[in-house]
Symmetry: D2
């Protein structure tokens, strides 16, 4: 379990990115090989307004970036996503979302992480995997 | 080749989505089973600011949505992405981008489309595929 | 936990397929939404003989088919894979393998399952997901 | 266009693998960044016998291996697949198949190739991509 200082450190790293700041992500948990964030609802995330659902690209963005950060929690360095795979399970209606990423395989050349995105009631909205190129 | 009215009609459909409006996509070509858009650079798309590169989630968003629209150009109806796969080929530095989507297989239950994103000089930045659930 | 009769019933269903018989899969566990098999080593599975490792296509085959069977354990019917994604984590050297599939999302139109393949010591060799088209 | 000696050289490389020999692949075309093979029908490839269709794992195997060989045609070395994505477009009934692989991006760390599998009449049965880890 991460203390407040650790959460704030990772929050600052996420907020280095203008797009990630725009998303409004809040780091809620950090362990070695694992990170959780919350993603507040806002109208600009919407794909189809009637009824309003979150754009698949937003969910893909969270899965891409959170998987990378779960790799970074190990102290290993990666700066590039090799590829991303996203499964969409349910429409993501209004309400805050939560996401959790875990490393599947930490490697020296590439690493793989899996991320799940849930709605406020804990229903799985989307999940997927990223492969990340390791530095050095 | 689409005339101006056709382009404007598809532009309006894309602009129904707040997130797609935020992206600032411009429809540049439409044929049956194919659509092209331009994506103007802006700072809010940036992942790492030093040096600035477009966030992988932005490229994933374009691949997701443009593949869906290429399916819609056939007159068939789809409203949901089943899954999305994105390969990242090069860092996407400052400058406008272009994307092109083509249907690989139009089906009655699911359809598959492939989308490529290029920089202003025509270099391939990212490419990928979406599978879309067909309505009815 | 499945009794012997249940295991044999599923074994027979798997053995309906000539390729699956050729693979030599043995059903070891069945629950609703979950199936495990063992895959004995044989030389015909080998990709590079020096040193011998199992071909990636064999691992992909197991991930494809076991995910489908995990869906079938629910009583729902699916006869086609929409798409398959496989991550290769380690070379698969000589020795029997085990695989476990679990449903991620059982849907009315499509379902998603995740399968992991392990070596005899429990190391993760490959893992991945299939999306399956539901019948009816 | 490759001459007969070139085709035979690549055939021998493919036939180093027991599983690839078992598949019965024949190299039909080789260019830099591109390779084509034929895959003869045989009963052991079958998934469901009634009516007989080729197992999805067989198609995945061809997509995995042929993408790798298309990378090798450039003289670059890769010995491992990072991940594989396969889309299934149509049931693959009895009859010989043909497959064509092309490099999408040749990289120094990873390369991406796309492979399409056709039936004897040229219909697209399956297609997909592999990411391959480059040596050195």
């Amino acid at each position: 379990m991460a203390d407040q200082t650790t959460l704030e450190t990772w929050q600052q790293r996420i907020d280095v990115s203008p797009f990630q700041r725009w998303l409004g992500l809040r780091v809620t948990e950090v362990d070695e090989g694992r990170m959780c964030v919350s993603l507040p609802w806002k109208e600009n995330l919407v794909s189809n307004p009637n009824p309003p659902t979150v754009h698949g690209g937003i969910l893909a963005s969270v899965i891409d970036l959170l998987g990378l950060y779960s790799v970074l929690t190990t102290g290993s360095l990666s700066i590039a996503t090799v590829d991303l795979r996203v499964d969409y399970h349910r429409p993501a209606g209004p309400g805050d979302m939560m996401a959790e990423a875990n490393i599947i395989k930490l490697g020296s050349k590439v690493s793989t992480a899996e991320t799940k995105v849930f709605d406020a009631s804990g229903k799985l909205l989307a999940s997927g995997r990223g492969v990340y190129l390791m530095a050095g």
